[in-house]
């Protein structure tokens, strides 16, 4: 599982890194976007400046064309020579001017035209009542320059409205050449003009990125490409920071943020030239701030094109995915699935009793640990079963044949061992301690072990050893050395008939001797003798003394080995013969 853990750690690390990148990447992109938008605004501002200058050039040219009209020259020459301008003359010149405007081609027709004589007096105002006949407009820089022979433009603020004005001198070309007056054309700054100026920055597909334009006179809105109530204070503050006489550099100023209702915009401002500058005339180019996209916003902004094979490395991503998946699955199979399958198969064999223990050496890592734990538990269960059988015998007395609760004292073979495996990691399992009741009446010598304790009636219980010491296993008769006399079997001495049912008899802790007869041993002897007789077995030679000595020796031996308090002997019939079983009793 180590490699799997490393794999998942690496995967988690990559996922965390990817998450960080996904969350962080939109911010630099946002900054870049804002920077680009601000740059765009500066460029747009400069372009609008250029477009306004280009428009001024067209308007001046238009005024020059207007001023060269012969009827205008004649009318203004005549008016200049008059000391007083009467209504009739004014009307005649006004009609003349309006006719010329109507005859103009193109869409950039002026909103008004002032026809001014060489004295600076307005002879007529065509198309509007922005001036009255007789008004002296000399003194205005534009008019003074035109009276001096210059063509030029200006920006005026009249009655809260902004006008782009252009003037051209009217020259009487017939000798003597002389100035006859001035033609002044005014074009109102309108929403349509603003829209026309920014139409090159509009993209219907990305309307949110459209740049807009607005004209202002101080705190008053004049016109704009959109009806947006921009924050005048922010605009005024920005205009207040502008200085110097080079208005064209205003567009290079820092963009700033401003609001209009709930919408946030980025804007730049540029001062407007001309007389209107004294009215704090300026324009603002602004754009709606791109929304802070963040991770989710960036995802939302993804379109089909971004996910096309042309722009997205699907093959690379797919390959990486398959690679990572295969790596994960492979490591899982290698470190989890395969060992688990092997352990499961081993467990099935164990369940089918095809093997006694799990093969610890066949399983590595945690699975090997599981196998070891299972084996340890199997060992423990074996020991517990043996102990339980012993206890059961003590509680219930000798069990019927085949029962686990008693031990056959007459069994010729080795004491049945537990089904515990005989091998364990590191070497063979310790030999199972033979039950303490494994003795035979034929044994001339006591079995190895501690010497028999002196028998006493109330022997204190001896604590059972934590791990039974392996006494020499009971050898089957065939395995006994030939010099060793065969164990004295009870059958050799007792020829009694077997009884149908075992008779439990509790042994007393008295020592048999030549003198007084132990009532318990005597009782057992009598029962055994009776059973032998009932089984038609010979009883000659089966004296009480010999019988009692055997019982005492085996009782002491059992007490020494098991620490039991006393030993109970049970007489029963086995295979048609009398048999005797000894059962250690731990509790009273």
């Amino acid at each position: 599982m180590f490699l799997s853990k490393i794999w998942f750690f690496v995967l988690a690390l990559v996922a965390a890194a990817a998450a960080i990148v996904a969350l962080v990447m939109p911010r630099p992109a946002q900054r870049t976007l804002v920077t680009e938008e601000r740059h765009r605004l500066g460029v747009a501002c400069g372009v609008i400046d250029i477009l306004l200058a280009d428009d001024a050039r067209n308007r001046v040219e238009l005024a020059g064309t207007f001023a060269r009209a012969p009827e205008i020259v004649t009318a203004l020459e005549n008016a200049s020579n008059a000391d007083r301008l009467d209504e009739a003359r004014s009307k005649q010149v006004r009609e003349l001017g309006e006719k010329l405007i109507d005859d103009m081609k193109g869409s950039r027709k002026p909103d008004f035209a002032w026809l001014i004589d060489r004295r600076g007096r307005v002879v007529a105002s065509a198309k509007s009542s922005s001036a009255d006949a007789g008004d002296v407009v000399a003194g205005r820089p534009l008019v003074d320059d035109a009276l001096a022979g210059y063509l030029r433009d200006d920006l005026w603020a009249l009655n809260g409205t902004m006008y782009l004005v252009a003037a051209a001198p009217v020259v009487k070309r017939d000798p003597p050449v002389a100035y006859a007056g001035v033609v002044l054309l005014g074009h109102k700054v309108t929403n349509e003009l603003a829209q026309k100026l920014v139409q090159t920055f509009h993209d219907d597909k990305h309307a949110e990125r459209n740049i807009d334009l607005a004209f202002f006179l101080g705190n008053d809105d004049v016109a704009g490409s959109q009806t947006t109530a921009l924050d005048h204070k922010a605009l005024g503050d920005a205009v207040g920071k502008l200085s110097g006489n080079e208005l064209a550099k205003d567009c290079q100023g820092d963009a700033f943020d401003l609001t209009a209702g709930n919408d946030a915009f980025t804007a730049v401002v540029g001062r407007l030239p001309g007389e209107a500058q004294s009215h704090q005339a300026f324009f603002s180019v602004y754009i709606k701030q791109p929304e802070a996209r963040g991770f989710v916003g960036t995802l939302k902004a993804v379109d089909k094109q971004d996910l096309s094979f042309k722009y997205f490395p699907w093959l690379l991503v797919g390959g990486l995915f398959v690679l990572v998946l295969a790596g994960g699955i492979g490591l899982m199979w290698l470190e989890a699935d395969r060992p688990l399958k092997r352990l499961a198969a081993d467990a099935v064999k164990l369940a089918k009793n095809e093997q006694e223990r799990l093969r610890e050496e066949a399983h590595g890592g945690k699975f090997g640990s599981i196998a070891r734990s299972v084996n340890i538990h199997i060992d423990k269960l074996g020991r517990d079963a043996k102990s339980a059988r012993t206890n059961l015998d003590q509680l219930l007395g000798p069990a019927p044949e085949g029962s686990l609760g008693t031990i056959d004292l007459l069994a010729g073979g080795p004491i049945p061992t537990s089904p515990l495996p005989v091998s364990r990691p590191g070497g063979p399992a310790p030999a199972v301690t033979p039950p303490p009741s494994d003795f035979r009446f034929g044994d001339a010598t006591p079995p190895p072990g501690p010497p028999p304790r002196p028998t006493h009636a109330a022997r204190p219980p001896t604590p059972a050893p934590a791990r039974p010491t392996p006494p020499p296993a009971a050898m089957p008769p065939a395995a006994m050395p030939p010099t060793t006399p065969p164990p004295l079997r009870l059958d050799d001495d007792i020829l009694g008939a077997p009884t149908a049912k075992p008779v439990p008899i509790a042994a007393s802790a008295s020592q048999p001797n030549e003198g007084p007869v132990d009532p318990y041993f005597k009782q057992v002897y009598d029962q055994f003798l009776a059973v032998k007789k009932s089984c038609n077995e010979p009883t000659a030679g089966l004296t009480y003394q010999k019988f009692a000595e055997k019982l005492v020796r085996n009782r002491d031996d059992l007490i020494a080995k098991t620490g039991c308090r006393e030993v109970r002997f049970t007489v029963y019939v086995k295979d048609g013969k009398a048999a005797l079983k000894a059962t250690p009793v731990k509790d009273a």
Binding site: D55, D135, V137, P141, Y150, E275, S278
Partner: protein
């Protein structure tokens, strides 16, 4: 045609013992036209049909004849406002004289003296209306204007004499009814004294005294006293 531009501000009975100063300023070559007060989106360009009019300096000139006798009762001076300018861009008035600005245009104006906000009573001058005020001490120069019409500007010079004249386009001037005596002749240009020596002029008891002062080239002005 010669048009008398000299304006005698005080008309009192000195005809019996008064002379007239006439003259013609020796004007230098016209200076370069000053840069435009305002710019459009484009620089101004000359028209291709006729030469530019030379820049006229005479509208900015005032001839002052300063004698020992000081005006006891300076007369009222009327300064007309015509459209987008004053009828004279520069006027000189005796110290303590009452100046009346009359609006002959069709636009109301609110005039303020740049150097002294209290010189002109507050409030607009309606079309055909007037706004009188006292000129103040001699030597003062006021720039009168309307903040709503920055192109509208007039210069008011307060002098210590009744005898001033405004040359015509050719530089000719005339000051009538001048008591005989010695005077200093000074020339103002755009509200500032030209940097030239004062001329000593002696007015005869009767008849006309002809004097042609010279205007220095480049129209240099005296540095302002601090």
């Amino acid at each position: 045609m010669v048009r008398a531009l000299a304006v005698v501000l005080v008309l009192h009975a000195v005809a019996a013992h008064a002379g007239t100063l006439i003259g013609k300023l020796e004007l230098p070559a016209p200076p370069e036209r000053p840069p435009p007060a305002t710019h459009g989106f484009l620089d101004r360009t000359e028209n291709p049909l006729a030469p530019l009019k030379p820049y006229s300096v005479t509208a900015q000139l005032v001839v002052e004849l300063d004698g020992d006798e000081k005006p006891a009762a300076p007369p009222q001076v009327i300064w007309r406002l015509v459209g987008d300018s004053f009828d004279r861009p520069v006027i000189a008035v005796p110290a303590g004289a009452e100046v009346v600005i009359r609006d002959d245009s069709k636009t109301a104006r609110t005039l303020v003296a740049k150097e002294d906000g209290k010189l002109i009573p507050p409030g607009p001058i309606n079309p055909n209306g007037t706004k009188p005020f006292r000129s103040g001490d001699s030597g003062k120069v006021y720039t009168i204007g309307d903040s709503d019409a920055p192109h509208l500007k007039g210069t008011l010079i307060v002098v210590n004499t009744l005898y001033v004249a405004y040359p015509d386009e050719l530089g000719r001037f005339e000051i009538a009814d001048v008591p005989p005596g010695s005077y200093k002749l000074r020339i103002w240009y755009g509200g500032k004294l030209l940097d030239r020596p004062d001329d000593d002029v002696t007015i005869a008891t009767k008849g006309k005294t002809d004097f042609n002062p010279k205007v220095p080239a480049g129209m240099p002005v005296r540095p302002e006293r601090k």
